[in-house]
């Protein structure tokens, strides 16, 4: 157990005019920890995710990240160049729709290799070997390395997006409904893959989902959001087995049993 968090979020709020996007969110994320943010559409979970990942400027509050040198930096006091560098090296962002996170008109190999080239890798053979390795890890046949993701199924695209994000060994990955558009059997495979990778690589992750089963399987801890507020926060098992807030009880009791 390390004694320093990776991310320190304090008092983050985002207002859209007079409407609340998310209000006064504070928490710490520790290395190797997976945090799920759950809630229905419009509850502010995606707004919060975007505020944490520098894709959206919060109205108030601060988000501090522990850089590889051990120092905390406030994300919103960094230069844009530093933020963008962080996003493509030490962070990953997995979009719900893989087309938002992939370059659909370049090959799978180049999609995986792009981050390596962006940080200065200039050896084609090495880049390709790494791409092959990652395709294997996300269970995409290496014979597909030169195919464009346009020719891939939804599940394959999502796995490719994950490989593309993980190739630089990030320490923190944001995921926005990673299993959103996939059918159930494909979802199960993806979840299992993500779970394995998170464990093997010791990643920290923040996963936004409306699917409590996804939260149960992937996360250690979860936050329940409603109308922009975090209404319940705790160990995932505890929140799901013993929900305290009326809204959380409603969410948990609404799960369809098979």
């Amino acid at each position: 157990m390390t004694d320093t968090p990776l991310l320190k979020v304090s008092g983050v709020s985002k207002f859209y005019g007079s409407r609340i996007g998310c209000k006064d969110v504070s928490f710490e994320l520790w290395p190797g920890e997976v945090l799920a943010i759950v809630g229905e559409s419009g509850s502010g979970k995606t707004t919060l995710l975007n505020c944490l990942s520098t894709r959206l400027m919060p109205t108030t509050g601060s988000v501090e990240y522990r850089m590889r040198d051990g120092n905390f930096r406030d994300l919103y006091h960094m230069s844009e160049a530093e933020r963008r560098f962080l996003m493509r090296t030490d962070w990953g962002f997995v979009h719900q729709n893989p087309a938002d996170g992939l370059r659909m008109t370049v090959s799978a190999g180049a999609n995986v290799g792009e981050r390596l080239m962006a940080v200065g890798d200039r050896h084609y053979g090495n880049i390709r070997a790494t791409a092959n390795d990652w395709l294997t890890r996300v269970e995409i046949g290496t014979d597909r390395i030169d195919d464009q993701p346009r020719a891939f199924s939804g599940g394959m695209r999502q796995r490719l997006q994950i490989a593309r994000n993980l190739v630089t060994s990030p320490r923190l990955v944001f995921m926005d409904e990673p299993t959103g558009g996939l059918d159930v059997s494909v979802q199960a495979r993806l979840l299992d893959l993500v779970r394995g990778l998170v464990n093997d690589l010791g990643l920290s992750a923040i996963v936004v989902t409306h699917d409590l089963a996804v939260a149960r399987l992937l996360s250690h801890r979860m936050m329940v959001m409603k109308d922009g507020h975090v209404i319940e926060h705790g160990l995932t098992d505890r929140v799901l087995d013993d929900p305290r807030e009326p809204y959380t009880q409603l969410l948990v009791s609404s799960i369809l049993q098979v």
């Binding site: 157990m1 160990l235 098992d237 505890r238 087995d241 305290r244």
Partner: protein, 235 residues
């Protein structure tokens, strides 16, 4: 003798917000302790709160009041008030739990399910798998099932996977929620032996066993949960 688990004055109730906020008391004033090498069995009729006590101890249920003290890495941790990160660490290193049902993970082979707690503690995969194989063999799980995900296994087979997973580590406290419920006589005896071994190793065990024969065989003492029941107090 060391006492790694001390429960004192724990109260638990559920507030059902979806049913006009009615409050269901579960247990009141639970106090007991379990010593190293001891197996304490929770007794009493079903619905009296035995499983709830185990779930509170494991952190799945929050408590209204009281303390649940666990000796974890040379210090005392109060599960009732610990943050999630501490609870996860306690679960990884100190507190094991064998539930009644296996929560299956799609696509993960039985052998890996069993080996996982060791891998999580940093033990190399081959060593962990070897230990997992020993346990599965001992519990007579057919070898051809080892490489299959347990989702399609029968109740008894799933339970044996679950037991192996719970017993593979050297946790100093082990919570057992009817681990023998769907086992045949042969395998029940294997589990009884395994519990006895854990006791010899100095593990503190707390369990629920409805099977009288097993209970007789493993229990050092039986803790009657009826005395913590709020209904009894009201009556």
């Amino acid at each position: 003798m060391a006492t790694p688990l001390v429960v004192s004055e724990v109260f638990k109730s559920f507030t059902m917000h979806l049913r006009d906020g009615i409050k269901l008391p579960v247990v009141n004033d639970v106090s007991f302790s379990v010593a190293s090498g001891e197996c304490v069995v929770l007794g009493g009729p079903s619905g009296i709160g035995k499983s709830s006590i185990l779930k509170m101890l494991y952190g799945n249920y929050a408590v209204d009041a009281g303390q649940i003290l666990v000796s974890h890495k040379d210090r005392l941790v109060d599960i009732a008030s610990a943050d999630p990160r501490t609870i996860i660490d306690v679960r990884r290193h100190t507190l094991g739990y064998v539930s009644q049902f296996l929560r299956t993970v799609p696509r993960v082979a039985a052998l890996d399910v069993v080996a996982e707690p060791l891998v999580a503690r940093g033990i190399q995969a081959p060593e962990a798998k070897e230990k997992a194989s020993d346990l599965l063999a001992r519990l007579n799980l057919p070898r051809e099932l080892w490489s299959l995900p347990p989702a399609t296994f029968s109740g008894g087979e799933q339970q044996r996977v679950n037991i192996a997973r719970g017993f593979i580590t050297s946790h100093s406290i082990l919570l057992l929620d009817e681990p023998t419920a769907s086992l045949d006589a042969v395998n029940r005896r294997v589990v009884v032996d395994m519990i006895a071994e854990k006791k010899r190793e100095g593990v503190a065990l707390l369990g629920i066993f409805h099977d009288e024969e097993v209970r007789e065989a493993v229990a050092d003492r039986i803790l009657d949960v009826t005395r913590f029941s709020p209904r009894k107090a009201a009556a």
